[in-house]
């Protein structure tokens, strides 16, 4: 035997197992199959994993996110905004805020992107069977909320009373307007409110909390004992909403929020998403509100 040390290769050919060493930077190649302009700032991208077998294997749960990569431009987390039943043919609602997202707003259909994931925790939809659900979104929060909404839609009979409460700054920022009628048709009560109405606005005006106050007046305490809430939006918004709901003795562990932090890996390595020392990508992005309350510097 010579004195050369043996080389231990860590590469393994199977790319789909979470614990597989070689899956770390593995990207599914996917194609942007359609781009739909929702508002001045947000586009809806339909992204389909090219390889049919990989597409079938890409399963996710409501609330999970994926890492979207444009080579040379960037790599960032986005919540999946389409029904889980569609597997590796997903929709992402993306707001133009910086390098990657602005570039995305200029690409055409047919461009290839990379997808890693799905990552993170999800909304425990099964636990909510037979209960009332309040789905509350502020602004871009409707993007991640759209997945549980479609889940409820597809499994409507399993849930009791369903409220969707959605607020934005002004009517121009309302997302997915074309879906509102369908949601209503599926027996989900949709309440929309804007802060700054324009001339054509006929709906409610004010903050989301106003809608919640109305619901408080309308429903008895028993209602809230059998209710779950999913709240997506800026921290300041879910902080208000959750503490209001808590006044009605809705347990904090029955309220779910989604946190947003900077992320580079999505797999608990880069530390950029840490809240205190909790990884948003592994322990989140979906947290129950009790956990959030206990995290230092979460909100």
């Amino acid at each position: 035997m010579d004195n050369k040390l043996p080389f231990n290769d860590v590469i393994d050919q199977r790319h789909h197992r979470r614990s597989d060493l070689s899956s770390f930077e593995y990207t599914h190649k996917a194609e942007i199959t359609s781009i739909h302009k929702l508002t001045e700032q947000e586009n809806l991208y339909r992204i389909q994993i090219i390889d049919p077998a990989e597409r079938e294997r890409f399963e996710f749960r409501p609330g999970q996110f994926l890492m979207l990569e444009l080579p040379g431009i960037g790599d960032a987390p986005f919540s999946i905004s389409s029904p889980p039943s569609r597997k590796g043919d997903v929709e992402l609602c993306i707001r133009k805020v910086g390098g990657l997202t602005s570039f995305l707003s200029r690409v055409e259909r047919g461009t290839h992107v990379g997808i890693r994931g799905p990552f993170g925790t999800s909304f425990p939809m099964e636990k909510m069977y037979g209960q009332n659900i309040m789905l509350i979104a502020g602004g871009l929060g409707l993007a991640p909320l759209r997945t549980p909404i479609s889940y409820v839609q597809e499994n409507r009979s399993r849930f009791n009373n369903v409220d969707i409460i959605y607020g934005t700054k002004d009517p121009l920022q309302l997302l997915f307007t074309y879906q509102y009628d369908m949601w209503r048709a599926d027996d989900m009560r949709l309440s929309i409110i804007v802060e700054k109405p324009d001339a054509s606005w006929q709906g409610r005006t004010g903050m989301i909390t106003r809608v919640i106050e109305e619901i408080f007046e309308e429903r008895d305490d028993a209602f809230f004992r059998n209710t779950y809430a999913i709240v997506c939006g800026p921290p300041i918004m879910f902080k208000f909403v959750c503490s209001m709901l808590n006044q009605k003795d809705l347990p904090m562990q029955k309220m779910f929020v989604s946190l947003e932090r900077r992320m580079h890996c999505g797999m608990g390595k880069c530390c950029r998403c840490n809240v205190g020392s909790t990884y948003t990508c592994l322990s989140g992005p979906v947290f129950d509100y009790w956990t959030v309350m206990n995290l230092k510097e979460a909100i």
Binding site: S19, L21, P71, R261, R262, H264, G276, S277
Partner: protein, 351 residues
């Protein structure tokens, strides 16, 4: 564990044998500081005489061989709307680490937990870690070392063999089959009772020499309670936000990713750069909001991650007490002082 003893001269044979066929990294002198004190670093060595077996502490840890400061994670060749991605773990041959202190071995053991033990192991690290043949070596406590407080003054695993100077000979703990095989090729002896005794004595003698220490009793709870403490602000006023502490630290692993496009636009790369939570933009998110805009909040976060969060997750702290960050920090911010001040809820000394 299997033990052996060797004559001191035999170490050279071991080095020669290993370095003839493998890349060897070891501690070497890299110059004198302004007061004439020898400075050390880890470098590739070809000559046994360059290896500073009695080195005190290297300014930078061994981590760049496992977690390079700058590493290409993937490269792309661009083809209009399409592209091809290639992944390389940036290691093609195993290497020998000749002379690592216990704290640095323990640092790797702790990194293993996050980088190899979790749901998503990190192949870039694993490929290097699994291909390192590590020879540990005993050390003398330095004024800033507090490894004993952190339980890292001895290494129980994570190396191939560990050498301790017991006066006239070296005492060797053998942990891997590979090491055992190599040792068969030099002259070794079975330790006798006297060797065991000198080995124990060496350990006990070392324990008496620690000058610095950190009281870790109930530390996670104290940190929780002192989250709003004014003490943090005082340390924040000193901190330069320069990231030096994280860069010299053997266990800081957080990183940033930068994308690069070649100037002829035909290729791109995804580059991982070790980052530091003390840097201003560490926690900036979309829209420009910064979760930790002040220096003190970032400094505090570093302590929380190491001494509280990691303990909660892995039952031990992410600090191995090597003292490098205190040594390197130009603002003289040291772990023992920071922890002591938080404990006492006051700032240590005047200034």
């Amino acid at each position: 564990m299997i033990f052996r003893v060797i004559e001191k001269a035999e170490l050279r044979s071991l080095f020669t044998m290993l370095s003839a066929a493998n890349r060897v990294i070891g501690p070497v002198g890299v110059g004198l500081d302004r007061s004439g004190r020898q400075l050390y670093g880890f470098e590739e060595v070809h000559d046994f005489d360059r290896v500073a077996l009695d080195y005190t502490m290297t300014s930078l840890s061994a981590k760049k061989y496992f977690l390079p400061y700058r590493e290409i994670m993937a490269t792309f060749t661009m083809d209009n709307k399409d592209w091809q991605k290639r992944i390389d773990y940036n290691i093609d041959a195993p290497f020998v680490f000749f002379g690592m202190h216990a704290c640095d071995i323990n640092a790797l053991n702790r990194l293993d937990k996050v980088l190899m033990g979790s749901v998503y192991p990190m192949p870039y690290y694993a490929a290097k870690r699994k291909n390192a043949f590590i020879i540990g070596i005993g050390c003398e406590p330095q004024p800033n070392c507090f490894c004993r407080s952190m339980g890292t003054d001895t290494a129980l695993h994570g190396f191939d063999m560990f050498i301790t100077d017991i006066g006239d000979r070296y005492f060797i703990e053998i942990q891997s089959d590979t090491a055992f095989n190599f040792l068969k090729k030099i002259r070794t002896g079975e330790p006798v009772e006297a060797d065991h005794l000198s080995f124990m004595k060496t350990g006990a003698g070392k324990n008496e020499k620690f000058a610095a220490s950190v009281d870790t009793t109930d530390l996670t709870k104290i940190l929780d309670m002192e989250f709003q403490s004014e003490v943090w602000k005082q340390w924040g006023d000193k901190c330069l936000g320069c990231g030096t502490c994280a860069n010299v630290c053997p266990t800081c692993y957080c990183y940033s990713v930068e994308e690069e496009v070649s100037i002829d636009l035909t290729a791109a790369a995804k580059v991982k750069k070790l980052y530091s939570c003390n840097l201003i933009d560490f926690a900036v998110v979309a829209g420009g909001h910064n979760f930790r805009p002040e220096r003190h909040s970032r400094l505090k976060y570093r302590y929380y991650h190491k001494h509280r969060g990691f303990v909660e997750a892995y039952e031990e702290s992410l600090c191995v007490g090597c003292g490098r960050c205190g040594e390197a920090c130009l603002a003289d911010i040291t772990v023992p002082e920071v922890i002591a001040s938080v404990r006492e809820g006051r700032k240590t000394d005047g200034q």
